[in-house]
């Protein structure tokens, strides 16, 4: 049998434990919610059982796998027994997230150690779909002299084109925007040089469709040549211009150095390396008649000897 004295001591101990336990959990976090996207987050934390006039600190932490982490703290003085504290829109410390991530977070009231998981966008963890936004990149290929020694007369149609393909079939889908030109330097009899610049736009359209850029929808894993690597296809030509009647003061000039392909490209998102080729053609300089290789209504353009032009070497762009 347990004596009354022992029972009293047990009762006192139990009471003390209960009292201390109540003290330890006097300040509680009842919840935390965040709105987060690839650029940053906002956070709201609720606390109860606070002592008015007392200063508190809430620390919080976000984890997005190995790609990114963020942490911070909220310092506040309680004005009542409850508080709702917020962190205004805050960017991720390493800049916008560029990869998909499973975002989790927790908040802790330091005075009591009360900790809650942060509900992010209504769930925890929250999946953020983030990819790198495409940044334009410029490069130039050449001079490449696939066409040899050209005698370019005023009024000649000169066509230009390109093809590209992604090197690796493991890439994600992307929008690939290409803004490009082919420049053909013409040496004039008087010793000067005049550039014939061919803006490149839509593939297979007359004079590039009158546009100076084109966006290709590239499917995930696509390693095909765009628009085509068939050097005679009309799709292999993205633009054409007619040399000015005043080229070289109306005289025939010469191109022996080849042409230069200039491009500004944007992958959105950036997904991989790309192999590039370009070509150009002045059928008249080849004795094939003055043919615009982007003109589908001119049957001469279908002749491989007229509008078929060798590609430059393949050049890889990162």
């Amino acid at each position: 049998m347990i004596s009354r004295k022992r029972l009293a001591v047990f009762g006192v101990i139990l009471g003390l434990v209960a009292i201390f336990a109540t003290v330890a959990f006097a300040n509680l976090l009842t919840g935390a919610s965040a709105k987060a996207d690839c650029n940053g987050y906002t956070l709201t934390v609720n606390a109860i059982d606070l002592t008015p006039g007392t200063a508190y600190t809430i620390t919080y932490f976000f984890d997005c796998g190995s790609s990114s982490q963020a942490s911070g703290s909220i310092n506040f003085t309680a004005t009542s027994s409850t508080a709702t504290e917020t962190v205004p829109e805050t960017p991720w410390p390493g800049g916008p997230l560029t990869t998909n991530c499973s975002l989790t977070g927790s908040a802790k009231l330091t005075s009591s150690g009360s900790t809650v998981a942060i509900t992010i966008n209504g769930s925890s963890p929250a999946t953020l779909t983030c990819t790198s936004t495409g940044t334009p990149k410029s490069f130039a290929i050449g001079p490449s002299s696939m066409e040899g020694d050209l005698h370019i007369a005023p009024g000649d149609f000169i066509s230009g084109g390109y093809n590209f393909k992604f090197t690796d079939g493991s890439h994600a889908a992307t929008m690939y925007t290409v803004k490009a030109t082919v420049t053909v330097p013409v040496s004039c009899p008087n010793g000067s040089t005049e550039n014939v610049v061919i803006p490149l736009g839509a593939p297979g359209k007359l004079d590039g469709g009158g546009v100076t850029s084109f966006t290709y929808n590239i499917a995930a894993g696509d390693t095909k040549n765009h628009a085509t690597n068939d050097q005679n296809s009309i799709l292999a030509w993205e633009g054409a211009v007619q040399a000015s009647a005043n080229l070289c003061g109306g005289e025939t000039g010469r191109n022996q150095t080849g042409a230069v392909f200039n491009a500004t490209v944007t992958q959105n998102p950036h997904v991989g390396l790309v192999d590039w080729q370009f070509h150009y053609r002045d059928p008249n300089a080849k004795g094939k008649g003055n043919v615009n290789c982007t003109n589908a209504s001119d049957p001469r353009r279908n002749d491989a000897a007229t509008c078929g032009a060798s590609w430059s070497q393949t050049v890889r762009d990162p």
Binding site: F139, A140, V197, V260, N262, R316, D317
Partner: protein, 163 residues
């Protein structure tokens, strides 16, 4: 008749003409001089944008391209470089990349970029002959091209060890 000595102290006739016309000629000369100075300050005689040097150093792992140039006034200018590695047999490897260049006040510019072949997913193995060109461009406008000079034109790269 005594021949005239080149070191004779007598003034040539043209000096006499300038001296006599000085009151009228001097303002004209000053105007021409001021015009010249003005034109020089307004870059009328500025060099056209061009690359002066484009130098490749590197090896089987990576490389450095260093360029210098002058006469650059255009904004958003880049130097694009094409490097081709040609093996004794088989397909050449060619890469292209670029970096922005910003001119100083006098139009001179310089830039350096480092890269690795791995960036282009190439692993070099065997012998290669190098060639290439550097291109100065601005907003898709070709400004100048220059062949790249190489610290060595040939490379011999060992095959990668299999682990």
């Amino acid at each position: 008749m005594r021949p005239r000595q080149p070191w004779s102290s007598s003034k040539p006739k043209w000096i006499g003409r300038i001296s006599r016309g000085a009151p009228r000629t001097l303002p004209s000369l000053l105007i021409v001089l001021a015009l010249l100075v003005f034109l020089m300050r307004t870059d009328a005689f500025a060099a056209s944008p061009r690359l002066l040097t484009a130098r490749f150093t590197g090896g089987c792992i990576g490389y450095t391209i260093a360029v210098t140039g002058e006469g650059l006034r255009e904004s958003n200018s880049i130097v694009s470089y094409n490097i081709t590695l040609t093996p004794p047999t088989g397909e050449p490897i060619a890469i292209v990349d670029s970096f922005p260049v910003t001119p100083e006040k006098d139009g001179r510019f310089h830039g350096t970029i480092q890269g690795t072949w791995k960036n282009f997913e190439f692993t070099l193995a065997g012998k290669y002959t190098l060639s290439g060109s550097a291109i100065l461009a601005s907003n898709l406008t070709l400004l100048h091209t220059l062949p790249v000079t190489f610290s060595r034109k040939n490379m011999n790269c060992r095959p990668a060890r299999s682990s």
